[in-house]
């Protein structure tokens, strides 16, 4: 297992480099950071001055390497746009995004897992139907639409919850539901099919046949086994969740990194984009890894 984890960590590092190089190259092809920085009426000479000033005229590999050399030490440089340290801009936003994501995950687990389990146990029943309706609905709705509908209903018409912002628990509810709604469907499906797999295993049938009460058998034997794919699914969903934050945070003005990502790409603020991309990728890689490790601890049958 240690070996496996080590191998995965090495892979994660390679992926980090791959992704940051790609993002760096793409942005340079796409945008002219010096032009984006300059005021609209700046002449070419003024733009060139800016380019030199911020070292944007150096060959790309040199720029990348000098960025990377600092980045490995945790220094992501200064935002081109604001001349503020990237880490200072990002750290409060990372906290905010994590808070939102954690709440969404919590909601997902609270809704998707029980619903998936019950749907599997009462296959074809009313709950199963409800579950599949939620599942398809969640996948078929653009989340900004869903978020706006929640605002119209709960904030404007009913006046129960604030439209936007962050601070109290009440601020967290609407964006949390919106974000969770984008990951609930897959999690629930996987829970359901994992449960179906388990309850049709021979040993469960045997246990039930031996006259043990069905529910206790299921909770004793199957919960642990079904947990594996569910944990894996949650780990894998983290990427989708981060993608969802871009839209959710914009609609609800949640001060996270998703909201910042869009404006950083539009203004070609390279150091900020680089840091966000790298951060998001690492979160995805690490959450997958964490899910694997948890599964390994929970389920001793899994061998690497």
């Amino acid at each position: 297992m240690t070996n496996y984890v080590l191998q995965r960590v090495v892979q994660a590092l390679i992926i980090a480099v791959l992704i940051s190089v790609t993002a760096f190259m793409l942005l340079f092809v796409a945008k002219d950071p010096a032009r984006a920085l300059a005021p609209p009426d700046a002449s070419t000479a003024e733009v060139e001055l800016l380019r030199q000033r911020f070292g944007l005229d150096r060959p790309l590999p040199v720029q990348y390497l000098s960025w990377a050399a600092l980045a490995v030490r945790g220094d992501f440089g200064l935002s081109l746009f604001s001349r503020q340290p990237v880490t200072r801009i990002l750290s409060p936003r990372i906290v905010a995004t994590f808070q939102l994501a954690a709440f969404a995950i919590l909601l997902t687990v609270l809704v998707a897992v029980p619903l998936g389990v019950v749907a599997a146990l009462r296959r074809g029943g009313a709950i199963d139907l409800l579950a599949s309706i939620i599942a398809v609905a969640g996948q078929a709705m653009p989340i900004f639409w869903f978020g706006l509908m929640l605002i119209v209903l709960f904030s404007v018409n009913l006046g129960w919850l604030p439209v936007s912002g962050r601070g109290t628990f009440r601020h967290l509810i609407l964006p949390g539901i919106t974000l969770a709604f984008s990951v609930i469907p897959l999690t629930m499906r996987l829970t359901r099919s994992a449960m179906l797999d388990v309850i049709n295993q021979d040993y469960i049938r045997t246990a039930t046949a031996k006259g043990l009460p069905r529910t206790s058998v299921i909770w004793k034997h199957s919960a642990r086994n079904a947990a594996t794919p569910v944990v894996l699914a949650l780990g894998m969903q983290f990427g989708a969740l981060l993608g969802g934050t871009v839209v959710t945070e914009t609609v609800f003005a949640w001060p996270g990194i998703g909201e910042l990502a869009v404006s950083a790409v539009t203004t070609a603020d390279l150091p900020v984009v680089q840091a966000i991309v790298l951060f998001a990728a690492m979160v995805v890689v690490l959450s997958n890894l964490a899910a694997d490790v948890i599964v390994g601890l929970v389920d001793p049958r899994v061998r690497y």
Binding site: L37, P40, D41, R83, S164, G165, E259, D269, V272
Partner: protein, 502 residues
Amino acid sequence: MKKWSAILIAVLLASALAGRNTDTLNVAFERTMLTLDTYATSERLALIVAHNVGDTLIHRNSETNEFEPHIATDWEFVSPLELVLNLRDDVLFHNGELLTAEDVAATLNWVVGEGAGLAGTGTLQWIDHVDVLGTHQVSITAKALTPTAIETLALIGVIYPASIIGREGGATELGQHPVGTGPYRFVGSGNNQLRFERFDDYFVGAKKLPEIEHLVIHTLPEEASRIASLLTGDIDIVRSGAISPDQQRALGNRARPEAADILRTWFVQFDGTGSSGVDYFTDVRVRQAVAHAINKDEIVNVLLSGYGRVIHTPCNPVQYGCQEDAAVQYEYNPAKARELLTEAGYPDGFTVEVYGYRDEQVVQAVQGYLEAVGIKTNLNWYGGQYDVVAQILAAGDIPLYVGSWGSSSVYDASAAMNIHLEIGGEFTTATNEVIDQAVRAALQTVDLNERLELYATAIQESTSNVYTFPLYAGRVLAGVSNEVEWQPSPDEIERYYLATWR
């Protein structure tokens, strides 16, 4: 049920009155600001904050357009290149320091020294250096004759304390935690909010001591959410331009639209030089055809619900020297447009690429009008990304462009016209000696009558050749709660210290 509705109403009222109860003005901005140092960025929002937190030497009255004494009590050009200003002796910074000539010199010398090349300092680069003449007297030396000197000082010359701007990393610090002399004192930020408090020791000058004690600026990127917040009472003012004309109906009886006529003008720009590889627009008849094909009145009155003013000048008539009677006007006449196209050798029209990055309804409306006279257009759309469009424009690769220009908030016709002309550098879309010479000459003289005449020549020459086709000047809309009395300003520098409770 009754109980529930009672609770509901209580909740509604509570949230509606929240701002007023805590004496807090809640304002919504549409973008995130990464810095509050207005010299570091060309971002308008930072400039707005700067004018609420800080002060300039001279104040421009946004109603009369007169320059009024503010930090400076009086000023005089002692020679064509030297401006001497006397300062008030009772101006306090938020950190308790007294403002002196040292602060003015330190700020402006930093702007043209270390700060040169930063996006927000461009308009002040006419300054060569600033000298301290006495504790409360400074002299500003210009690099060359600058008719817009006073104007730019009043627009962006916000004074920082020398003790901060003078030290290493001081500017970065001010970007996070601005310190000024202004009506509102910066208290803190976080969670997409900037929090301010009335500065009770404010010297006032040409401005005003705020009636509302607290000011909170929120970032709300989504328009629907901004409207929703206005409806729930969480927000008192949605900044002008951050709400579109069609949405005035959504405000209901909780809030109202307040308009301001701004400097920005919208236009259709042609590649008159053929540099894009498309030579349709090198023929003046084709440009005139486009001019006759577009119904500006309909754009302004119907599409924009009256939020705009039709213009015929390649500048905003409120700008100095922008004389409407000098402009050649083109009336909406699709039949004539077709005739001109036929004369130019395109009886069946042609297909061309059109570029845009904002105001998608206006761009599409122009497409529709052109289509109606036989000019088919393919839209190249760069949502919100001015820098990308600017690159393509600078490379001369855009045959037809529907765009707008804010004139860098300078109330002088040259600021609007330069961009289309050779002296505007790479955005040149036409070459015309007469215009270039006239505008150049106008920028080198301070004789007002002479400048007027020169601008009249330039405008006449530009419009008869239709190098660009002016559409309208902007009228922006702010959403204001009915609890609040406040007006947006024509110079787009919003003065929140003027807001009062109704």
